[in-house]
């Protein structure tokens, strides 16, 4: 069955043309199914994060309200939406003009190419559409059985912890394999030797088997006590809770749903600049070089520039992304890279540098495979680019009680940008000890890198952690340079100073 026939003939033709152009340029994407939706439906799907079906929760309603109000008052409208799935699903707004639909399709093929090829997405579930629907059914079933309030309250609490996952874990191996770990443990195991004796025949008298066994047991117990739990700091706090917290079966299931979805969405957050930039790069290329009719140019220019508008206090990922992609292409076309170029001090010479290598296209395809936002910015954001794009850092000036532009220095800007992107802009928090002070308490440590936590939220979140762990929980962080231990025991919060 052809899944595309549900598109109106007019859009079906556009789709075929645009897809053809995209393939010609070398984009490599999953089969993409476009669906045409009314604004109400598209707002719903967008509120659900792109999926037609999610578990019931009020925060989707909240998002829906925001989108609907924005649409009703003509402030915002959703142009495109596409989900990382195989086949990929993308949505078109019914009331859009044909030129918009063309633009959206070109944009979508860019995204899907990125989903398919970027390494960050390699471990995501490509059948997430089904998984989401299953999650919805499971949560609904629990709600039927246990009541809406109870399940929803639990979801509220776990959502409060959804950023406590290990954003790198899909790409590295944190824990040794079970078998290897066991073997290692076996090697390190101390064997009870008993008393020494030179007389072989006396051995069983001096060290009777029962005595040896008792000694061995004592050694093992001691080793177990020394062994840390968890053995190494666990950044996937949700996983730790799943494995060790005393959860009911349904709670365990719901928590694992929240965790799975958090991991699914994480790469999209970590490649926002690249991904939006990539899609924008391709829609503008396809549109201006191939797909655009002369009569459509004004509308196209209007909408395209709308996407790329910048405001002083916000970084537009579309704009930054597409400019950076173009910069990379241009530099590799002209050979502006490598030792020779880096060592060149003459401003004039650098400006006129062109070796006519023509490697740009090849390079950007390579980069889209192997980078995420952090490495993309780190590697390719250059001084010239920073000046060109008028980037700056801003901060809150306590004296003037307002947000101000702080600096334009290249190093500072890049540093700030990278800091915003590292670990997805989330504080690094790990479980250090699941048996803190030998009282079964949980001990979390915030790896402080110069920015304090928002304390009222931290306390409330700690309360939510406690509700899962049941025993008291502790969080170590720094406040204004001094170490603090926050503790919640189920009844009250206490803070005290404590250095690591």
């Amino acid at each position: 069955m052809d899944k595309h026939t549900q598109l109106p003939a007019r859009l079906y033709d556009i789709r075929k043309r645009v897809e053809g152009f995209a393939r010609e340029y070398g984009l490599d994407f999953f089969d993409t199914i476009f669906e045409v939706l009314g604004f109400d439906e598209i707002n719903m799907v967008a509120a659900y994060g792109g999926f037609p079906n999610r578990y019931p929760h009020w925060r989707f309603g909240m998002e829906y309200e925001r989108l609907s109000k924005g649409y009703e008052y003509g402030l915002s409208k959703i142009y495109e939406m596409v989900i990382n799935n195989d086949p990929s699903y993308a949505y078109l707004l019914e009331s859009n003009m044909d030129v918009d639909q063309k633009l959206v399709m070109a944009h979508v093929f860019g995204h899907v190419d990125f989903f398919k090829n970027n390494f960050m997405f390699r471990h995501t579930n490509r059948k997430m559409m089904d998984a989401m629907a299953n999650h919805a059914t499971r949560v609904r079933r629990y709600q039927d059985k246990l009541g809406v309030e109870m399940v929803e309250d639990f979801i509220d609490r776990t959502l409060s912890l959804e950023n406590l996952i290990d954003y790198q874990s899909p790409y590295v191996k944190r824990r040794p394999d079970r078998a290897a770990a066991d073997a290692e443990a076996e090697d390190a195991r101390q064997v009870a030797k008993g008393f020494e004796t030179e007389r072989e025949y006396m051995r069983t008298y001096i060290n009777p088997p029962a005595f040896l066994e008792a000694q061995q047991r004592r050694l093992d117990e001691e080793a177990a006590r020394k062994k840390k739990f968890p053995e190494r700091p666990e950044r996937d706090v949700l996983l730790f809770l799943l494995e060790n917290a005393p959860l009911e079966r349904w709670e365990h299931d719901v928590l694992s749903i929240i965790r799975e979805e958090a991991y699914y969405f994480a790469p999209q957050g970590q490649t926002k600049i690249m991904n939006e930039g990539w899609a924008t790069y391709w829609h503008s290329k396809i549109m201006t070089e191939k797909a655009l009719d002369a009569s459509e140019i004004i509308d196209y220019a209007d909408h395209h520039s709308g996407t790329l508008a910048t405001h002083p206090g916000q970084l537009n990922p579309y704009k930054l992304g597409v400019e950076l992609w173009r910069d990379v292409e241009d530099r590799w076309n002209k050979g502006r890279f490598g030792k020779e170029y880096d060592d060149c001090d003459s401003f004039e010479e650098r400006r006129r540098w062109d070796k006519k290598l023509g490697l740009g296209r090849q390079k950007i395809f390579e980069v889209r495979k192997h980078c995420n936002d952090v490495t993309f910015i780190d590697e390719f954001l250059s001084l010239e680019f920073c000046l060109d794009q008028k980037l700056f850092t801003f901060g809150y000036n306590e004296k003037h009680q307002r947000w101000e532009i702080m600096e334009r220095e290249f190093k500072k800007v890049k540093e700030k940008l990278l800091h915003m992107l590292t670990n997805f802009g989330q504080p690094l928090i790990a479980v250090e000890d699941g048996n803190f002070e030998n009282r079964g308490e949980l001990y979390l440590v915030h790896k402080h890198d110069g920015v304090d936590l928002k304390l009222d939220y931290a306390r409330d979140t700690l309360r939510n952690v406690q509700s899962l762990w049941r025993r008291p929980v502790n969080l170590h962080s720094k406040v204004e340079g001094r170490g603090m231990l926050f503790r919640y025991d189920g009844k009250e919060h206490t803070d005290r100073r404590a250095e690591l």
Binding site: Y64, E152, W403
Partner: protein, 368 residues
Amino acid sequence: MSLKIKQDHARFRDIVRGRIKRNLKKYIQKGEMVGKKGKDFITIPVPTIDIPHFRFGERSQGGVGQGDGDAGDPLSPADGQAGSGQAGRGEGQHLLEVDVSLEELADILGEELELPRIVPKGKDRIIATRLRYTGISPSGPESLRHFKRTYKQALRRQIASGSYNPRRPVIVPVREDRRYRTWKQVPLPETNAVVIYMMDVSGSMGDEQKEIVRIESFWIDTWLRKHYKGLEARYIIHDAVAREVDRETFFHTRESGGTMISSAYKLAVDLIESEYAPTAWNIYPFHFSDGDNWSADDTRLCVDILQTRILPAVNLFCYGQVESPYGSGQFVKDLKESIGARENVALSEIADKDAIYPSIKTFLGSGR
């Protein structure tokens, strides 16, 4: 087709209004969008609930931006934190708040003043709501399963997926096909209510006093309308004689002359007896005056009318005494002594505009 997300949305609205899940209330942020309606800038309230996470303090963080300007230049305030905080966009443009319906306003009033819901009189005689099975939903209790719709849905799915064979029409519903009846509360029959506003327009009632009465009656109106669909309002003004007027006249008439409160009460009794049978109507007389009645005799007559003819018929009788430039009269004290203990009487003295809220609370706090 009603959208699945409407349920989530309704739930969110309930949380914002504080009906359910009060533990989330402190996370509600009053965000807003700035839009344009004609020439005016308007703000559209977009409340959000922020689930707490471990995250960085905002002020210590800052960010990276793009555009012109030197170090030390301010960003426009709305830019710093997207979607939250103040909507200052320069002077000279005024912002109108939109999107608060009267219903919501009543909710806010009720919430602020902690007003109880009004219990309509004669609940045993008048059935106020009835459950009706009106809709179909993809989830629900098994006992409410709608077999026909379930099978229809299954048939639709089988045809769509191509597994339906017309020659051997076997339909097997799966879990997703199941449809359940849902219900709605339908008010049947509607309860009727009438408010009778009475105001003293004698020479001692100045514009300021009338303003107070106007504001107060607006809120009373709003609150009662929330509880009664078919709310009617009647307006009586009086000095030495009483007459019924329309709303406009009620708030703008300025008469002079003496004050005979009994005249208004007599007219109110006439209205009630001729048009609003107490068995079918919830009746709310509100009377505002500066309390300077003509004579002690007339006051006695008023009390007599109230006790024998008004109070037995009405849900709640409210008297608000507005302080006028000529001081405050004796009437409220007289009422307090004679009928103050009756449970369907609410008396309040309103010294100035600030006293309006406590006064509303006195009037409506009884939940009658």
